[in-house]
């Protein structure tokens, strides 16, 4: 019995291909902080999608009989200065804050990937232009750059997305460029060329997949940064319309009632803090999981 199995092994029989996803999940599940963060983010995403349909109160409905109330069974996280339910507003704000963050990072990443791939692959003048452009953007503090852009474009959700996207671009361009430089020397790229692939096919089908891993972590972390940045912009009054429920705006409005109704600041502040922390911890966990050197 044992001998038979040895013989079959030697006859170049393949072991069943192990699913790389299962392997990934096994390693990821070992990182407790990252798992908790992921669960938190999933819950947040579900809240963002379904929350507004389930909540009891209209986030914009004023109730002048219950102004600046602390947490109570009726309003579990209290009410604001117009008697609007803070919990309802936070839930409605989740959708806005998350979609602004996600949207801006997706836009920024997409542009960063394209620029980085082109710069790394073609080199020369393309590389110089892209990299010097990134250097210039890097020279500004992120939030200052975003404020400047919103100041030029005017306040509004779309403009916040653009502003945050702009300062997301250079970091991705750099990461992708260096990954491209590495991958394009790989023998399989030469093979791709030897089977007659065109440049664009090589770039997108053969080099791009090899660079994805290097940016997953940055992508996750950047969402955290984007939430922080978009909330800051709202806090400063550059973001969403004041009447809209946005975490940053809520924080800004609550500031005036810090003494009388601290829950107005505490709740959105805590939510922003936890969300950013969750994205950062998830990014850390992913980095550890994806790094083949860490067991």
């Amino acid at each position: 019995m044992a001998e038979e199995s040895v013989v079959r092994q030697s006859a170049e029989e393949l072991p069943k291909p192990k699913s790389p996803y299962k392997e990934f999940a096994r390693k990821f599940l070992k990182r407790k902080a990252a798992v908790v963060s992921l669960i938190f983010i999933i819950v947040l995403a579900l809240v963002a999608i379904f929350g507004p349909m389930v909540i009891r109160y209209n986030p914009n409905a004023a109730d002048y009989t219950a102004l600046l109330q602390g947490p109570s069974p009726k309003h579990i996280w209290g009410t604001d200065e117009f008697g609007r339910d803070v919990f309802a507003r936070l839930i409605a704000g989740t959708r806005l804050s998350l979609s602004v963050a996600l949207g801006s990072v997706v836009v920024g990443t997409a542009i960063g990937i394209i620029l980085g791939l082109l710069a790394g692959f073609y080199g020369g003048i393309v590389d110089s232009i892209v990299m010097r452009g990134s250097d210039i953007l890097f020279a500004f503090p992120d939030i200052l750059l975003a404020i400047a852009i919103v100041a030029i474009l005017g306040p509004g959700v779309i403009n916040v997305v653009i502003a945050v996207a702009v300062f997301t671009v250079p970091s991705f361009a750099r990461i992708i460029r260096s990954a491209t430089l590495e991958v394009k020397e790989a023998p399989y790229v030469e093979v791709a060329r030897s089977i007659g692939c065109t440049n664009s096919r090589i770039l997108w089908k053969h080099i791009f997949p090899g660079t994805v891993q290097s940016m997953i972590v940055n992508f996750t972390m950047r969402i955290g940064t984007a939430i922080l940045a978009s909330s800051s912009l709202s806090f400063l009054g550059f973001g969403a319309n004041v009447t809209e429920p946005d975490w940053g705006t809520m924080l800004s409005q609550g500031r005036n009632y810090l003494n009388t109704a601290p829950h107005m600041v505490l709740c959105p502040g805590l939510l922003i803090f936890l969300t950013v922390l969750a994205f950062n911890l998830l990014g850390d966990g992913l980095r550890d999981t994806l790094d083949p050197k860490i067991k």
Partner: protein, 329 residues
């Protein structure tokens, strides 16, 4: 006389090094006939791989440039073609297999997808048809579990399996010329023999011409019908395989053959050729092999011999003064 598939004439390839150019391939000429396996042997750094890259015109990414010569593939000069035209030839008419099979396949892409791509670049067919061709090819190269292999990622296959996949991929469009650049160097000996047998079988069944680049003379003796010996970017000897092994003329070839260990011979030390391949930027003036050649005379140090026919032989060419007495200086 059989049909000539590839004819390389006076090929010269140069590399830019800082400010100057160094010549990696100097005046290389040879031709390959339909259906033959020709060996290209030489030490590391003698220009074997650069020759193959030049034929495929894959030097684009490096600082290398073909500065002279012609590469005629079925009469068409490949050097006159545009990059786009070249792309239609690569992989369909001329294919290549590389040294390190493990890193020749793109790690995050399944075998299936890579093979289908190789087929669909050149053949106008659906994904299903391409997959069928890929599966047939894998079967042909002797992969036992085709379905499982197709769904695998490269790291899940052994080196021998990867090289089989590479061969299957290279042969998918039935090319007329296959350039094998040290296809077995990275594999262990038992797998080597299998891969060589496989290449021989492919050549027999499809009539593919194979240019086998190697530094293993044993492989050459077993596989090839003709041999080109390269040294320092030049062809120094060219002959039929029998002629070359039984009647080597160039001192370098003699040295190479002497270096092959033989079972049964009672030698304590393996013979070797003293010295190493000269640096491309500081080439000796005369015959490039002269500094390492035990027979070298003043004449060898002064001028470089041409590639000429050996006296009284039909297909034996040599670049050496010793054997071609009539050559004037």
């Amino acid at each position: 006389m059989s049909e000539t598939i590839l004819e390389v004439k006076n090929l010269r390839t140069e590399f830019k090094r800082e400010k100057s150019y160094v010549t990696a391939i100097h005046d290389v000429s040879f031709s390959l006939n339909k259906g033959e396996i020709v060996g290209l042997v030489g030490e590391s750094g003698c220009g074997k791989s650069v020759t193959s890259m030049s034929i495929m015109r894959l030097l684009g990414d490096t600082s290398g440039k073909i500065t002279n010569g012609e590469i005629r593939f079925k009469g068409r000069n490949l050097l006159d073609l545009s990059e786009r035209e070249m792309q239609t030839i690569r992989g369909s008419r001329i294919s290549m297999i590389f040294q390190d099979p493990m890193s020749s396949l793109n790690p995050p892409i399944r075998i299936e997808k890579q093979m289908i791509e190789a087929v669909r670049i050149h053949e106008n067919c659906s994904k299903e048809q391409a997959r069928k061709i890929a599966a047939d090819m894998l079967h042909e190269v002797g992969i036992p579990d085709v379905e499982n292999t197709l769904r695998s990622y490269p790291h899940q296959l052994s080196g021998g399996m990867c090289q089989r996949v590479m061969i299957a991929m290279a042969m998918a469009c039935k090319p007329e010329l296959l350039i094998a650049d040290e296809p077995t160097t990275a594999l262990d000996v038992t797998i080597q023999a299998q891969i060589m047998d496989l290449m021989k079988k492919i050549q027999k069944e499809n009539g593919t011409t194979i240019l086998l680049i190697t530094h293993d003379l044993g492989v050459v003796a077993q596989m090839c019908s003709r041999v080109l010996v390269m040294y320092a970017g030049r062809i120094v000897e060219q002959a039929d395989v029998h002629e070359l092994f039984y009647n080597p003329k160039h001192p370098y070839t003699k040295g190479l053959i002497a270096c092959v260990p033989k079972i049964g011979s009672d030698v304590r030390r393996l013979p070797s050729i003293p010295g190493s391949v000269p640096d491309l930027s500081v080439m000796p003036k005369g015959c490039k092999f002269a500094p390492r050649c035990q027979y070298a005379s003043d004449r060898c140090l002064k001028g470089e011999p041409d590639l000429v026919l050996v006296d009284g032989r039909e297909n034996h060419w040599i670049r050496c003064y010793l054997e071609s007495k009539d050559q004037t200086m």
